[in-house]
Each structure stands twice: as structure tokens, then as C-alpha cells.
Symmetry: C2
């Protein structure tokens, strides 16, 4: 956060800053989604919707699971939310009682801690091992699961490592958790952004996991604030009541816009973007190791690379600060993603700007590292 | 909630239901706001904004306080949120530590309880007296303030009573709370909807209160999910951090749309609507007492009447159910607004449909009451 503000301040002063710290690609919102938003405006469709979202959107999401992803999801299991953020808040509150512990992958998405705390739960790091590319496994989960653990949370593909976990393996972990009166929550917000395998969902392999998703990333709808969750039917009424009280409803025009997300045309645009991101990833993974910046995570999905910077520093936060000041390149220090995985050795690079800018960033980083 | 669903089910069956239960007027979103939304779409302005909202919108809101309401508010005190709902969540969490008690007007807005609980606080009813039209006073506040009370919450104008409290009196109460290491939170979501006095804010009379507001009601932006809070500057960084973690940001197009809310043209439309609501109120307050349905609250603002139905029933919930089934008129039972004010004697009527429909509702209620 401090670095983000500093990057913006430097830019406001006229410095050319390369923003590799932002979790938001540079693509505009796809045209069919924008057109659907425009049509909703034309119709004046701007009133409150039901708390769980427009029935048509819940149905469209469920249909997409069945048709495109091959998972037997029904509309009643889907709750539309204000971003994956809203979904995470609801799910943590529905699954945790005060004092319950939640295992959060470390490194992992930083806000999860806050949602656990908000629900009265106790966040515990599910510490991952760089020797395993920070990849979660069933053994690791079992080893860190405790007496009071009721929930474990993993993203696939993941932020910040880009790790993609096998769907069947995730379903296996979900089953294991269920056997211990617990729940595996799988954040699939980067679901469509996979580079070595087709998009998958844990729900194709079993029905025990609770799934988080969003229109933000793959569908390029960040600022619309729209996501969803998929939960076992028995859990939905409680979640719906919470949504009614906390949010009243998700944003209306955004919901109408999102109805166009599963159109063929939109999916084609999304696929082209996935390919562009893949080219960026290749450029970077081929260049960074030669700079003494090996990629640690699997980098099979999302748009992040988690880099080991320990050849150059023992304090990745200070490194990020200095790189920003001296080279105008903004990156995110490992500290943002957890405290238990030796974060001072790592930093995250988000390839959310185009190849020309990425090449410029590589040049600047190389120059910076060559300085005496 | 059960009644709302039943009303919708009956309507889906083809019944003509008069919806006097919904807290959302029948007016469309004002044209200048829609035009600004359209322009944002044209520009493709759909990316994440800062967590506290667009600087231009924070400035526009602050300017409106200074110019139109005469309150010395600065942009740094304003945090833009996903509805007043988001503002309530943030404020409760920022002001309450686990175990702290919060006094909530009873009757009052039902979701407040949930926000207090979510923050780990303990909601306590601030029981109001029908002999005083359920109006909060400094004496009543002082009498119910306890050892562990850290916060009291009041809306002005209020839902469900329509009570408008004097701004100077509210500022006095805020000062009193501050003297007890507590805070008065004033929900001004119905601020512009006053019928006997000009719009006012507690912030014109002092700087101790924390204020909640929204574009939902006066500006007709319900489904856009956009509100704001005004807090003392010292409190803002903590609130901003929570907003960053829980919401990431408020909806982007909604924020650009809301920039048109304070335009002269929009304010003119809002004023015309206020006058229409005032005529509806007059129609109802002149007709309902003759049906044995006296108005209990002050009804000086918002679009609600709180009615005493005890001449006809000792169970307002059953009364609402029966009225819905037999007469097709949907109202909200007192139980929704608290348990400690003898809610079984009361119900809420929202005058959110036009005069012709309201006349029809009066006819149907009269017929229903005349049945043997
Ligand atoms: C793993 C993960 N989950 C959830 C979110 C929240 O996204 P949103 O609320 O925009 O859907 C993010 C955003 O960066 C993320 O990286
Ligand atoms: C008193 C009061 N506060 C807050 C809200 C929440 O409104 P929103 O989240 O749409 O701004 C409502 C909605 O009915 C209300 O009546």
C-alpha cells in the first residue's frame, strides 16, 4: 500500500512509472459486456435486485458450469456478490464460528486474513515450501490441520504464485476437510487464465468445496464489483440472509452487463487476452532467471510471477522501494502475501502491461542490478 | 422477508399486489445521472478506483456539504462506499471493539444489528416511546447509555418512523457521547427527503458525529450501490484500510454517474420528487386515521409511515399476512424494526408508489377492515 501510493506520487510528479504491482490487466472491459451495460442503462434497469442476484444471472452462471466446465452446478447454489471480495466475506462468515481457525495459504491473497478476522475466526498460516514451488498438497494440508481448524482456503490459479492445482486433487482435499467437519474454500477467480491446461473447476470433481469466483479478472470487469460463490444448497439460505443484511444486493447494471460474459463473442475476446498474457509470461520467464531473479511459483495461471530476489537482497521490501525510486519500476514485496514463508526473499511481478512496457521494465531492472 | 417473498409469489401468479413494503421509490434514476453513467461507459471508465473513492467524487460530496448544507466538511473526511450499507459496516467496525455495546434505536433500521454483530459488538435496543412518537431525545439517550456503551445510532429522517431530529439537538447528543468516550452515528440517508423543514446535517452544528449517507434514496440510485460516510479525519485512515481489504473499491461507473448528482438539474429533479412524496404523505396522513390506523411516528421525512394497528389486531405480523392474502396490499410488520417497542402493535407503510395506487390501497384496506 505504501509502495502503491509512492508509485502514484512519483507518477503525478511526471516520472514514467512501470506499474507491475497492480492486480488488474491493461485490457478494456470487453465490448459485448459494455454493450449489455449500455442496454441496461437505456432500459433504466437500475433498481435493487434480489439479494442473491438476478435469477437470470444465477442461471447463466450455473449453465456455464454445466456446459463449458462440465460441473453439475444449479442456479440455487449460486449467489451473486459485490466482487469475489463480497463472496469471501459471506463464505467466511457462514463457515466460521468465533474462535474457529482458518488455514490460509502463505504466500496467498492478503485480504483473506481480514475476512477471517471479521467473521470472528482466527487466521493461521498454511505455510508452503519454496522447494515445492509454494504448491499446496494434501499432505501439507493434513499436516497443518489442527483441532480447531474448520476451514482451509486456497486459490487456483493462485495469487501471487500462479500455481494451478489439479481439480481432482482439490476435490480430494475438499473431501478430506469435510471428513473433519471442515470446508475447503477454493478461490477460482483466475480460473480462465490458465496457460498449460484448460480451465477447470474443483466442482467438476466433487461437490464438497465452496467456490469463490468473480467477473473481475478473466472477464475484465474489475471496477464493476461483481463476483459470485457456489455453495452446497444447504448453506445458501444462511448466506443469502447475510447478503441481504450486509449488501442489500449486488450492483444492478453490472449484473445485466455480466449476462453478456458467457456469450461466444465475449469468450473469444477473453481467450485472445489469455493468449496475450501467455506471451507476456513467456517473455518474462525466459528473461528473468538470467537477471538472477528465478521464478519460484508454478506460474501456470493468473498474471503473476513470484520471484526469488535473495541473490540481490535480504530485504525484498527495501529492494522494491529502491527499485521504484531509482528505476521507476513498481513491484509488490513478499510481505504483502504472508509472514511465514520468508517473504523478505520474494516479490511479485504482475504482467498487467503490454510487452513493450515489460521489455522496458526488464531493461530497467537489468540496469539497476548492474549498478555498483 | 417471508412477506416480501409471498408478495412476489402472489404477483407471479397474476395477482395485482400493491407494494407498500419496499424501501425504494418508483421514480427512475434521474436523467443527468444516467447520462453521466453513459459517458463513463463511452470512455471505458470501468477499472478499480482508489478504495476511498474517486478523489473528484470525495471533493464533490464535501463541496455539497459546504455549499448547499453549510457544513465545513473536507474531502479527506469523506469515504465513498458500496451503499450506506458499506458505510455502516465500516463505521461499526472502526468504532467498536469486541464486547463493546451499541445502542440502536428501537424501532429502527433492522440491518444495523447485523453490522454491530459483525464487528464483534453487542447490539442493545435504545427503546423509544410511542407517547413521544418514538422520537429520540438526549434524556432518553443518557438514560439508556451504559458502562460498556461505545456507540449510539440514530437515523434522521428515520426509517420506519419518518422522524426528523433537530440538527443542533443531534450535535448536542454527539457531544454528550464524545464526553463518554463514545460516538453518535447519524444515518442521514433520507437527508434530502424532509417535508416540514429544509435538509440539514448534524455536521453543520458540530464535528463529533460520524455521518452515514447514500446516493440510493434522494438521488434515486438504489441499484448502483453507492454511499458515503463522513468521519473525523483521525478515523479515516483506519476506515480506508478496512475498505481496501473488504471491498477493494466502490463501483466505478456508479461513481462517475454520482458526479452528476449535485448538478443543478439533478437537484431540481430530486426536489420535484420530494414534492411528489410530500403530496403522497398528505394524502395518507389525512386518510389513515379515519380507518383506525393512526400514524405514530413524526412522518416529517423519508417515505415511511409507522402505523398503530392495535385497534384491529394484537398481532401486526398476522395482520400483514392476512391483508396481503385477502386484499393484495403488502406492508411491513413492526417486528422487522425491533423487538422492544411492542412491535406487534405496529406496521410500516412505504409510500413508494403513485397517488392512484395509494388511493387504491386505501380503498382495499378500508374494505378489508369493514369485513365482518
Ligand atoms: C485471489 C483473489 N481473490 C479475490 C480477489 C478480489 O477480487 P474482486 O473483489 O475484484 O472480485 C482478488 C483480487 O485481486 C484476488 O487476487
Ligand atoms: C436507514 C437506512 N440506512 C441505510 C440503508 C441502506 O441503503 P443503501 O445501502 O442502499 O445505501 C437503508 C435502506 O433502506 C435505510 O433505510
Amino acid at each position: 500500500m505504501a509502495l502503491l501510493e509512492r508509485a502514484q506520487a512519483l507518477q503525478a510528479q511526471g516520472r514514467d512509472i512501470l506499474h507491475l504491482e497492480v492486480g488488474e490487466p491493461d485490457f478494456p472491459c470487453p465490448a459485448p459486456i459494455m454493450a449489455a451495460a449500455g442496454a441496461a442503462l437505456e432500459r433504466g434497469d437500475t433498481r435493487y435486485t434480489p439479494a442473491a442476484g438476478l435469477p437470470a444471472l444465477r442461471e447463466a452462471i450455473a449453465l456455464d458450469y454445466r456446459r463449458r466446465l462440465g460441473a453439475p452446478v444449479t442456479a440455487e447454489q449460486v449467489v451473486v456478490t459485490p466482487g469475489a471480495s463480497g463472496a469471501l466475506q459471506l463464505v467466511m462468515a457462514a463457515l466460521l464460528n468465533p474462535g474457529d481457525e482458518a488455514l490460509l495459504c502463505d504466500p496467498g491473497y492478503p485480504c483473506n486474513r481480514q475476512f477471517v478476522t471479521l467473521a470472528g475466526g482466527v487466521p493461521r498460516p498454511l505455510t508452503l515450501d519454496p522447494a515445492e514451488q509454494f504448491r499446496l498438497s494434501g499432505e501439507r494440508l493434513a499436516a497443518q490441520w489442527g483441532e480447531r481448524t474448520r476451514l482451509a482456503m486456497v486459490a487456483s490459479p493462485d495469487n501471487p504464485t500462479g500455481n494451478r492445482l489439479d481439480g481432482a486433487e482439490l476435490a480430494e482435499m475438499a473431501r478430506w476437510c469435510a471428513g473433519r467437519r471442515g470446508t475447503l474454500v477454493v478461490d477460482e477467480i483466475y480460473q480462465g487464465l490458465c496457460y498449460d491446461a484448460p480451465a477447470d473447476t474443483v466442482l467438476r470433481h466433487g461437490d464438497e468445496a465452496v467456490v469463490i469466483n468473480s467477473f473481475s479478472k478473466y472477464f475484465g470487469m474489475t471496477g464493476w464489483r461483481l463476483g459470485w460463490l457456489v455453495a452446497p444448497r444447504a448453506l445458501v439460505p444462511a448466506i443469502e440472509r447475510l447478503a441481504q443484511n450486509w449488501f442489500l444486493a449486488p450492483a444492478t447494471v453490472a449484473q445485466h452487463a455480466a449476462l453478456a460474459a458467457f456469450d461466444e463473442e465475449t469468450l473469444l475476446i477473453a481467450e485472445q487476452r489469455r493468449q496475450m498474457l501467455e506471451r507476456r509470461r513467456t517473455l518474462l520467464t525466459e528473461s528473468l532467471p538470467a537477471l538472477g531473479l528465478p521464478v519460484v511459483g508454478g506460474a501456470e495461471g493468473a498474471f503473476y510471477l513470484y520471484l526469488d530476489v535473495s541473490a540481490h537482497t535480504d530485504d525484498s521490501f527495501a529492494f522494491c522501494q529502491d527499485l521504484l525510486e531509482k528505476a521507476g519500476v513498481a513491484l509488490t514485496p513478499g510481505l504483502d502475501f504472508g509472514a511465514s514463508h520468508q517473504p523478505e526473499r520474494y516479490l511479485r511481478l504482475a504482467y498487467t502491461c503490454d510487452e513493450a512496457r515489460l521489455r522496458e521494465a526488464l531493461r530497467r531492472i537489468a540496469d539497476y542490478l548492474e549498478r555498483p
